[in-house]
């Protein structure tokens, strides 16, 4: 659930208002208001689209107890999801923007799939054909 918008850095550009799929935000004369907090599903897309890393979304469904806004800001965590997704200034990269998943696949691909995994039967058969790393998980 969304926790706060940093009023010191929010430029009131209203990008979050535009892109929030559940219409959590409401425009105002000063900074964007969190008007319907309980509609938030922690999708964190507002963090991606925010050009100034001004939004903090908690990954849990209920309001955080005793969250210290100043301490969260000081910790430098604002924008961490955006950085991990390679977005900048509210804009997506021209493509995935990294190859960590591919490196993981290669690093692990030298071993047969671990038994008991989801889709184990498929993975084992694919392991035995040329493009064994093709199949995606999730």
């Amino acid at each position: 659930m969304i926790e706060f918008i940093n009023a010191d850095t929010c430029t009131n550009c209203n990008r979050c208002v535009e892109i929030c799929p559940t219409d959590v935000f409401e425009p105002s004369a000063t900074v964007v208001q969190i008007a319907r907090r309980h509609d938030c599903t922690s999708c964190m897309n507002c963090e991606l689209y925010c050009p100034t890393d001004s939004i903090y979304v908690s990954p849990i469904r209920t309001p955080e107890v005793d969250l210290d806004e100043a301490a969260v800001i000081a910790s430098g965590i604002l924008g961490s999801y955006r950085r991990a997704m390679n977005w900048e200034n509210g804009q997506p990269p021209q493509g995935t923007g990294d190859n960590w998943g591919l490196q993981l696949r290669q690093h692990r691909g030298e071993h047969p799939p671990p038994e008991g995994d989801r889709d184990y039967a498929i993975r084992l058969r694919l392991y035995n054909v040329r493009d064994r790393n093709l199949i995606a998980t999730e």
Binding site: T41, R61, G95, G97, R108
Partner: protein, 545 residues
């Protein structure tokens, strides 16, 4: 019901109207535009961030290399045993080939896929949802597709029995809209009955109700007992980040296998734990952390080290957002209603994955491919009408929760709570029983009979609040209807198969071997058995002779 003379703030005409702006809707719109159709796409949230794909950060997608027959056969064949005799292998090749073509198109439009460190090999199998949806949005705009964001459809229009457009509201402005169309594509996704998973708040089965009101049918609604583990109190029913490295433990710390054993451990011990303790290789750990951004935001923000400490998990319903049941479609993605096509998660995915779990990879491929096919079919159907599309007589088809009332006895929230109460518990929906299903259905029927006839939207203080009320009344009626089709089908199938588990019928029943359950109806819910036919495989075999 709005009168024929009602004025709309936005009143448009297009060849094709697409309802729902996730990956299936985006591809439907692109395919229809490629056929030369004018296209409007109406999205309940924002096209780019809505739904399980747009919020998912990472999603896998299946495709098959055109020139590697061994790999092609492997991917398609490997899924057959977990489809329980209800899939059509030719559909596998068709869906995976089309998703390959869609990924190829994305690359041609300039999307850069990850490459191996030496730069030689591309990898297209893993997608970052928000990034690729933002990219598809820019492509839709280049294709002159009109996008209506924050614009849920509330009811379909029909003309002489055929789907002819839709009406809805804009939940940000309160404006009303109408789009007349030569054909409609439904891509509204599945529903998890607001269980609290990523993307579930926009996914309330609205498309099911709209389609059923004009006579569409459903298939495989019993194959919906899909639950997934999520770190406690989160929306993260993701599996990939822990694949191959995670271990589940019951509440007492006893190591537990995945699947049914795990669900039983939760029911018996009252909780469960997860830990990514099957690797101590620092490089593997680092690459897992970097390649699964949204899951690891949870660990980072809550100060959990998942490799070295156990964290509590819950099992959460994913329902039709990740299971096979949905609107019945034919090989052209047509529903049983002329002019109404459907694609993605709101359709039955049995042709691809039968009664088993689609998983993310096949489900993404299904959305990309069936969205595309449905858009093509709709554009071709719309050529029947041409200029008549704008002038033909249309009727608004919304019947349940669609009309304005001065007041109402039951609120949408109360109806939704009753539905959630029956759909979300593991001991009602993961493990089903005849008496349990009958009790849930009796509760649903009593709400339907007593509350729904007098159930409608009520004017609020602002136009925006009124628009939101209109939406929530339809959402409540949609969720209640979906629960009725699901549990009526589940009661009929007196066996356990795939994502349908009956503790009173734990084994396969030969009577249901190769049998689909088709369901539908609103005033009276009905279900009937239909023998499985490999429609596409058989047709291709005939053509080859």
């Amino acid at each position: 019901m709005p009168s024929p003379t009602e004025q709309f703030d936005i009143d448009q005409t297009s060849d094709v109207l697409v309802i729902g702006g996730g990956p299936a809707g985006a591809w439907a719109a692109l395919a229809a535009a490629d056929e030369g159709a004018s296209v409007v796409i109406a999205e309940k949230g924002y096209l780019g961030t809505s739904g399980p794909f747009g919020v998912g950060a990472n999603t896998g997608i299946y495709y098959i290399m055109p020139d590697d027959q061994e790999q092609r056969d492997t991917i398609v064949d490997a899924r057959q045993p977990i489809a329980y005799g209800l899939s059509d292998p030719a559909w596998g090749y068709r869906v995976f080939d089309q998703s390959y073509a869609n990924l190829d198109a994305i690359a041609k439009w300039g999307y850069e896929w990850p490459r191996t460190p030496d730069g030689t090999k591309e990898h297209r199998g893993s997608l970052r949802g928000p990034t690729i949806m933002a990219f598809l949005r820019s492509i839709l705009i280049k294709h002159a597709v009109t996008i209506l964001d924050h614009s849920p459809a509330l009811e379909l229009l029909t003309s002489e029995g055929a789907a002819a457009g839709a009406r809805g509201v804009n939940k940000q402005t309160g404006q009303t809209w109408q789009v007349r169309a030569g054909a409609v594509v439904m891509t509204t996704g599945g529903t998890a009955f607001l269980s609290g998973i990523l993307g579930d708040k926009t996914h309330t089965g609205d498309g099911y109700l709209m389609a059923a009101e004009i006579g569409a049918e459903f298939s495989g609604m019993e194959f919906t007992g899909q639950f997934h583990a999520a770190p406690a109190e989160t929306y993260l029913t993701r599996g990939a980040y822990r694949s191959g490295v995670g271990t589940y433990y019951d509440k007492n710390g006893k190591k537990t296998k995945e699947g049914r054993n795990m669900v039983n451990a939760v029911l018996q011990t009252g909780g469960a734990w997860d830990q990514l303790d099957r690797t101590d290789d620092p490089l593997t750990q680092d690459l897992i952390r970097r390649s699964h951004p949204i899951a690891f935001q949870y660990f980072e923000r809550k100060g959990i080290d998942p490799f070295n400490e156990r964290y509590p998990i819950n099992f959460v319903l994913e329902g039709t957002m990740r299971a096979g049941g949905g609107i019945a479609i034919d090989d052209d993605l047509a529903t049983s209603v002329p002019g109404l096509f459907a694609g993605g998660d709101c359709t039955s995915r049995e042709k691809l994955t039968g009664g088993g779990p689609p998983g993310g990879g096949p489900a993404s491929a299904w959305a990309f491919a069936t969205g595309y096919f449905a858009g093509q079919s709709a554009a071709r159907f719309a050529t029947n009408y041409g200029k008549q599309t704008a002038t033909r007589k249309v009727i608004a088809a919304g019947r349940f929760g669609a009309a304005q009332h001065a007041k109402r006895d039951v609120s949408p929230e109360e109806i939704i709570e009753i539905v959630r109460d029956e759909m979300l518990p593991l001991d009602k929906n993961y493990w089903r029983t005849g008496p349990g299903l009958r009790a849930s259905l009796a509760r649903f029927e009593s709400v339907w009979r007593d509350a729904i006839p007098g159930f409608g939207w009520v004017a609020q203080a602002t136009v925006k609040a009124t628009a939101r009320d209109r939406l929530s009344t339809r959402e409540a009626a949609s969720l209640l209807s979906a629960g009725r089709w699901i549990y009526t089908s589940a009661l009929e199938r007196t066996e356990s198969r795939g994502l349908h588990r009956r503790t009173d019928f734990p084994d396969y029943n030969p009577e249901f071997e190769g049998q689909h359950l088709i369901s539908g109806g609103l005033d009276e819910v009905w279900v009937r058995k239909v023998r499985h036919v490999n429609t596409l495989s058989d047709r291709l075999a005939l053509e080859a002779v």
